[in-house]
């Protein structure tokens, strides 16, 4: 079994790349982040319906006060991460690149807890229903990056029994070490959170998945989870090992059918950080107002793993780490493979910010320019973990031939960047793929509109 798993990882055709891991912050323990004077808490930090603000200007809020919520099922409330006064609800830059509505709170720097933040009785006696409710009230979303509301994940339909809970500790993005530190420092909390997930979905097995390059984390989780019957598996180190579908495939050998969720093959995947957040929400009554993130890269003075209040500006976090060094290069929210380069440091840390990677201008300039002419080397095809043909997707998207893109299964692309990473001509394949998806969706909705119009006639 172990051998077969290893073989799958190295066999050609299994996709993925091996970027330099750059885990320079691995030995830094998690320390408290900056104490910002003002936080900007976006009302949309998850997939699904954005929240409506529940507070108004000049309201006083405490740490853990609910400041936004929505009626939608696929949504999660947001809470204040500081105590202080609401100074406005404004459009503010968001790490995704588009401005979004954010609650601005001026901190009194006292961090007084809201009276609602208290443990909810005995966690061992909670019913699955109650666990889901507490998870939703805690505003917990997938903290690996996608931000899928966790209570939705914990509510599988009756005809899709969940057998396996995978706790994702495969932090495959270069630079990022937040999950690694969480496993070392809060292993038992992660395990307790994982137990809650297991009870909520009624799964038999819990597997903690960690890349083989982090033996300390593997040992820590074996120690913490072993007595409770949790398995820890060591995975071959490759990017994107931590991607949901890749992870399920590596562990169970089952491919999640296209367009479906892992529950289709009886599994759910939750991040280590999410499990810890569930522990906080259920055992402590503390909603998701802080998260662990890594600050690393050659463009920042000090590397760190920080516990940062959600809504803190990236600027404050970087100042806390000694500021920028070298010329202004890239400030990336997330890791270097999938993170989003920011045009301003005035974006806030959100629930899904797993790290801030800062690359200096000097590093950016060292990069050799590309020729952008495909030489058909086939690396993108070989690297694609979804077995797509990125060179063709790129070519059709570039020419605006949207209808061709459906046959190429462009919707299955998760934009992991393996294709563009390996491209010797530096073709911006991820960018072309994003363009292609946009054009494809637009074309399809236009066709549907035409069809409807035709029927009405």
């Amino acid at each position: 079994m172990e051998l077969a798993r290893k073989l799958r990882g190295i066999l050609p055709g299994s996709g993925g790349v091996h970027p330099p891991s750059q885990k320079i912050a691995a030995d830094m323990s998690i320390t408290p982040g900056p104490q910002p004077a003002e936080v900007f808490i976006p009302l949309s930090q998850h997939l699904g319906t954005p929240c409506e603000p529940l507070v108004a200007k000049q309201d006083r809020v405490m740490v853990g006060t609910r400041i936004g919520d929505s009626e939608g099922f696929v949504s999660a409330p947001v809470h204040s991460s500081v105590s202080g006064e609401v100074t406005g609800i404004v459009m503010h830059p968001h790490p995704t690149g588009e401005d979004s509505l954010a609650v601005v709170i001026k901190s009194d720097r006292l961090d007084t807890l809201d009276s609602a933040v208290k443990p909810h009785g005995n966690p061992d006696e909670l019913t699955p229903e109650e666990i889901r409710r507490l998870v939703r009230e805690g505003g917990i979303v997938g903290m690996g990056g996608a931000g899928f509301p966790t209570h939705v994940k914990l509510s599988p339909p009756a005809d899709k029994p969940i057998e396996l809970v995978i706790i994702n500790g495969a932090e495959c993005e270069p630079y990022l070490t937040g999950d690694y530190r969480l496993m070392l420092e809060r292993g038992e909390d992660v395990v307790k959170g994982a137990r809650l997930i297991q009870r909520a979905v009624g799964a038999e097995r819990v597997v903690v998945a960690i890349e083989e390059t982090s033996p300390q984390a593997i040992n820590a989780m074996r120690e913490a989870g072993g007595p409770l019957g949790m398995e820890v598996v060591s995975l071959p180190a490759r990017y994107p090992q931590g991607a949901e579908k890749t992870l399920v495939d590596t562990i169970t050998g089952k491919q999640v059918p296209h367009g479906k969720l892992p529950m289709e093959v009886g599994a759910i995947v939750d991040n280590v950080g999410t499990a810890a957040a569930i522990y906080d929400a259920v055992y402590m009554g503390m909603p998701l107002v802080e998260r662990t993130l890594t600050v690393a890269g050659d463009g920042v003075a000090r590397h760190a793993n920080l516990k940062v209040k959600i809504g803190t500006l990236v600027e404050d976090v970087i100042d806390h780490c000694g500021g920028l060094v070298g010329g202004r290069g890239k400030v990336i929210v997330g890791g270097p493979m999938m993170g989003i380069a920011q045009y301003t440091m005035e974006v806030p840390v959100t629930k899904t910010t797993s790290g801030i990677t800062v690359l200096s201008r000097e590093t950016m300039m060292k990069e050799e320019p590309g020729s952008f002419t495909c030489i058909r080397c086939g690396r993108c095809v070989k690297n694609c973990p979804m077995n797509l043909m990125p060179y063709l997707i790129g070519a059709y998207a570039d020419k605006g031939m949207w209808d061709k893109l459906e046959d190429l299964n462009i919707e299955d692309c998760m934009e992991c960047g393996c294709c563009a990473y390996g491209c010797p001509t530096r073709n911006p394949l991820v960018q072309l793929c994003k363009v292609g998806k946009e054009g494809f969706v637009r074309k399809r909705s236009k066709m549907e509109a035409l069809e409807r119009a035709g029927k009405e006639d």
Binding site: K245, I332, A341, I375, R376, C384, M389, D412, V430
Partner: protein, 364 residues
């Protein structure tokens, strides 16, 4: 698309609207700006230029040894072929109003590969014309690097082969026929002296002449004076292949399946598979020509089909045609099939199953 730099300033500071309604952009100090750009923000080190460079490095031991064996004249052949290719590339790019991209080393590599497939005693003008033809007819006419259908070096060689076939078959250090004479001491050799020299090798391949293994394997491996410049040593070709494989620049499937197919078929035909693998241009072609990125399929299984096809055509040409050698035409022919292979052999996307008929019917 290169990285863009965008102002980190607030919009009203960097843009100002004058009375005419035109937006003028104030020049912002570059050092205040962040780089932006779509992920991934890390790139692998390999670029087109580096890859071409590594292939040239992989070919160097073979080239040096080939020139050592072939003498100064062989060196001239290599230089003239490279000059022809690089000059043609630059001139064509100039004429077609494209950026001059000679620095990407692809033309240099084409010239070098072409030279390695030529006999060492060619008159100097032939490799020069070959280099020019390889680039102009083999590559630039199709749109330049990445767009050509056929391997440019082999296009160059094919044109030389049919245009000046007498030079191409007689400009060897020793006639290939001599190889037969030297190594086999076959009494009936008189009967073939009147045929073209390569014909003798052909007879050996077809099993009409027999040689004892020990006599020819060693020279083919370590120093073969009766072939093209790039055919002097199988060991050095394999060394080059090893470099390419270690650097993960080529797919192992192509050389393995190509040579394997030829060996298997000749074994079935009753010929010595090792002689078939080591003689002629098979190894050079399988390791360096068939693996040319542009002209072989993109997918793993596509490469297998391509390489097996090359092997079959090589075998057929070697055994059933008048030509003693078929590698060049085999690769060119299969190059032509590459778009077709790419059209029909695609990877199965993650999460898709080959649907059973009942399921399809159930869906319908």
């Amino acid at each position: 698309m290169p990285e863009e730099t965008v102002s980190a300033e607030k919009e009203d500071e960097s843009d100002s609207t004058d009375e005419g309604g035109k937006t003028t952009r104030r020049v912002v100090d570059d050092s205040e700006l962040f780089h932006i750009g779509v992920s991934p923000h890390l790139r692998d080190k390999d670029t087109t230029t580096r890859i071409m460079g590594w292939v040239i490095v992989a070919l160097l031991p073979l080239t040096v040894y080939g020139v050592y064996i072939g003498g100064l004249h062989a060196f001239g052949v290599v230089v003239m072929s490279i000059i022809g290719a690089v000059a043609a590339e630059a001139v064509m790019q100039r004429l077609l109003h494209k950026p001059i991209a000679v620095y990407d080393l692809s033309a240099l590599l084409t010239g070098l590969l072409l030279a390695l497939t030529l006999p060492p005693r060619l008159p100097m003008w032939i490799p020069f014309i070959g280099g020019v033809v390889a680039i102009v007819l083999g590559k630039q006419i199709f749109g330049g690097l990445g767009y050509n259908i056929f391997n440019p070096a082999l296009v160059g060689r094919a044109v030389l082969f049919v245009s000046w076939s007498s030079y191409m078959t007689t400009s060897y250090l020793l006639h290939p026929q001599a190889a037969v004479v030297n190594t086999a001491a076959i009494k009936s050799i008189d009967s073939i002296t009147k045929a073209t020299p390569l014909f003798a090798i052909g007879l050996v391949r077809k099993g009409e002449l027999t040689l004892s293994a020990s006599k020819y394997i060693k020279p083919l491996l370590f120093g073969n004076p009766w072939g093209c410049i790039g055919e002097v040593s199988a060991v050095l070709i394999l060394l080059g292949l090893a470099i390419l494989l270690i650097k993960r620049l080529v797919d192992w499937r192509i050389p393995v399946c190509f040579v394997g197919t030829v060996m298997l078929l000749s074994l079935l035909k009753g010929s010595n598979p090792w002689f078939m693998a080591l003689s002629g241009g098979l190894l050079l072609g399988a390791c360096f020509m068939a693996t040319d990125y542009v002209t072989n399929p993109m997918t793993g299984w596509g490469k297998v089909v391509f390489a097996v096809g090359c092997g079959i055509v090589t075998f057929v040409l070697r055994f059933y045609s008048k030509m003693p050698e078929g590698v060049m035409f085999a690769i060119l022919l299969m190059n032509g099939f590459t778009p077709l292979i790419d059209r029909y052999i695609k990877p199965r996307p993650f999460g898709y199953k080959v649907k059973k008929l009942e399921e399809k019917e159930a869906e319908a």
